[in-house]
Structure formats: structure tokens, C-alpha cells
Symmetry: C2
Subunit: 208 residues, 2 copies
DNA sequence: GTCTATAAGATGATAGAC
DNA sequence: GTCTATCATCTTATAGAC
């Protein structure tokens, strides 16, 4: 039997996933946790404090999970395909949807913004490792911006899930593009040595 | 002197930008519009009805604005650079931030989801025209997925603005990547005819 | 179209008994 | 730690006077 703290944290994650940031209230969360409403404030001080604790907990769990998903990724096309797999798992896990709600709330709430930063830092750290590894074995080795690329990939994925949530058809169209981009990445990586050197040279002279 | 309807619509857009979807209430909006609170329901039926009308109005205006911004874009790198310019203008306009809030709310509210779909359809229509034009003159002409790419670009940009809102430093890092990607796009487009044909051939055989 | 007044309920948070 | 009870305030929405 979990203690009250964990019951409240689990319930908060659940409400955030099913009803979004606008659906979270001390009473709603307490009801779902089958716990007295006043205990939210006894254990976490404020409602925001509970959301903060809950989202950090959820992010810690998902970051560990993503680490193993990315472990075997060795090429840009493989990374894009893992992106597609993560999207399929997302409907059940709701990890990205939760982060999206946290970021939306964080735009105007400093405490939620801090929690969102924590989450993005953990996620981008995982992706940055993969991106850096992938870039080394690619034509794009001259393109050394792993930190920026990791953050772009991560933020883009959140945007895509948000889009998918309001327009599944449009979201599917957008996500199919990941497959096409994977093909493109393979095409560029599969170039002969001459063309490869041409791209590399151009990247070098263009600065960065 | 604008009429009450317009005052309420303008105030809603304003509240959505400054306080997000969680900050919107009939009383807050009416106060900002300097209008009686009951008039929200007289003119729009429900609060959601007002948000719906306001966001559609805002999207119509921004889509027209983006059309002219994209008019002269002729290459992939130019498109990425316009993306950077739009980000700089975003702090003042708040168009993307508003769409992000609408999409976050739309995840669990069918009416807001419909408004968000309307907005994304208008925006992607603008971008799709540019993307299709850019792809024709690029090595990627074999990569014909303009609808998917337009939606991916649009959704990604929303994710990036959301990220920038909670972590300006991280957001800046991610957005700088757009510049690097523009350089990369130019490098690939600037390949000699031999390498160009190699890429094109690989894209063709890879299907799509 | 606009106003006041008000219903009917939800909200974050606290005091104090146990 | 957990409970009840409560405060003060906010919420959407409506009825009815002007």
C-alpha cells in the first residue's frame, strides 16, 4: 500500500495526462488519489508544489526509459525511426503529452517553468548522447552542434505530439515525414567517397 | 471606438498571450476589455465560444502576415532564416505562443481542438506553398512530401517557442541550430552535378 | 445591448480536533 | 498524519430591470 505522498504524486500525473494542466486542482487530484484534500497542502505546501514534485518524478522515470530506447541507435535514420516508435508508445505512456502540458503551464508560472526546464534538461541529455554518437559516423561530422540539435529534436517532438492531439490526421501526415527524412538521411550517408568529401568540404568552408 | 464584440475578442487574445489558457476567465477578459462580464455570454454564449472566436480571428490575421513574410523565400536555407526572423518578432507578436496555448487547451477540449485545427490548417497552408516551391529547385526534388514537411515544420516551431518560453538559454541554443541547418542545406544544394545526381538517384531508389 | 444582482458551485488554503 | 469544517474568493452562467 503506497503512502499518501506517492498516491498524490501518481494521481497528479494521471490527472495531468487525462485532463491537462487546466484540469488539475487540489480537490480533483485528492479525489483521484482517494485522499483527503487538505493533505495536498500538508505534504506539498501548495498545489504548484505538488505539480512540481509529480512532474519531476514522471520525468525521472521516462528519462531512464528513453535511455534504453536510444541505446542501440547508431544512425540518423535509426534515430528518426525510434522517434516514430516512441510516438506509437506515446498514446499509452503519455510522457510527451505530460511534458507539453507542463511547458504550456510554465510559460506563465515560474515554478512550473523550473520543473519544465528540469524535464527538458533530462530529456535533452539523453538525446544529446545519441545525436553526438550519430553525428560522428555521419557525413555531418563537420556539423558539430549536438547540443543544439538535441534540443531542437526534443522540442520539435513535443510540438508534433501537441499537433497530433488536436488533429490526428494532420499529426500522422507530419510524423510520416520522419520516415521520409530517415530515407533522406540514409541517401546522404550512402553517398560515395567523392560526394562525401564534397559535402564535408562545403560544411567546413561555410563555417562551423 | 470598437464595439463590444471586438473589444472582447481583442482582450481575449491579449489575456491568452500574457497569462495563457489557465489565466482566461470571463471576468478577467471582461475586465481587460472594460466591459461588463455578462456580455461575454450575451455575445458568445460560453467562455469557450469567445476563446474560439478570438483565436480564429488572431489566426486569420497572422496567416495573412506570414504569407507576405514567406513570399520571397526561394531556398531551404532562406526558409530556415525566415524561421529565425519570425522567432525574433515573436516576442512582440506572440502569435506562436497563442497557438501553443490553444493547442495545449485543445488536447482535452473538443471546441478548442477544433479552433487549433483551424489555426494549424491556415498556417500549414501558407508554409506548404513555400515548402513545395523550395523543394522544386532543390536536390530534394525527389523528396516530394511537401504537406508532411510543412506540418512538421509548423509543429516543430510551436515546440521550439514553447521551449524558449520556459528556458530562453536552451531555446536560443536550439534556434541557433536553424542557422546551422541552413548552412547544411546550402552545402547540399551547392554540390556539383555528379554528387547531385548521386543523391537524387539514391532518393529515387529508396522509394518516395 | 447593457446593466445589476444573484444563483450554484469550485477554488486554494487554513484552523483546530483527533 | 489525517480528518472536518470553514473562509474568502473565484468560477460560469442566468434572470430581469432599463
Amino acid at each position: 500500500m503506497p503512502d499518501t505522498r506517492t498516491k498524490l504524486i501518481d494521481a497528479t500525473i494521471d490527472v495531468l495526462r487525462t485532463d491537462g494542466i487546466t484540469g488539475v486542482s487540489a480537490r480533483v487530484v485528492a479525489a483521484r488519489a482517494q485522499v483527503n484534500q487538505a493533505l495536498v497542502f500538508y505534504h506539498f505546501g501548495t498545489l504548484t508544489g505538488l505539480i512540481d514534485a509529480a512532474t519531476r518524478h514522471a520525468v525521472d522515470a521516462s528519462a531512464d526509459h528513453y535511455r534504453s530506447a536510444f541505446a542501440e541507435v547508431g544512425s540518423l535514420s535509426a534515430l528518426l525511426n525510434v522517434g516514430r516508435q516512441l510516438h506509437e508508445a506515446e498514446q499509452a505512456s503519455g510522457n510527451v503529452a505530460l511534458m507539453a502540458q507542463l511547458m504550456a503551464g510554465g510559460q506563465h508560472d515560474p515554478a512550473l517553468a523550473a520543473a519544465a526546464r528540469y524535464g527538458m534538461d533530462r530529456w535533452t541529455a539523453e538525446i544529446e548522447t545519441v545525436v553526438a554518437r550519430v553525428l560522428r559516423t555521419s557525413v555531418l561530422s563537420g556539423f558539430a552542434d549536438a547540443p543544439g540539435l538535441a534540443r531542437t529534436v526534443c522540442a520539435s517532438f513535443i510540438g508534433l505530439e501537441l499537433y497530433d492531439g488536436v488533429d490526428p490526421a494532420g499529426g500522422a501526415t507530419a510524423l510520416e515525414t520522419l520516415t521520409h527524412l530517415a530515407v533522406l538521411a540514409d541517401a546522404i550517408d550512402g553517398l560515395g567517397p567523392v560526394a562525401r568529401r564534397a559535402v564535408t568540404a562545403r560544411l567546413k568552408t561555410a563555417g562551423r
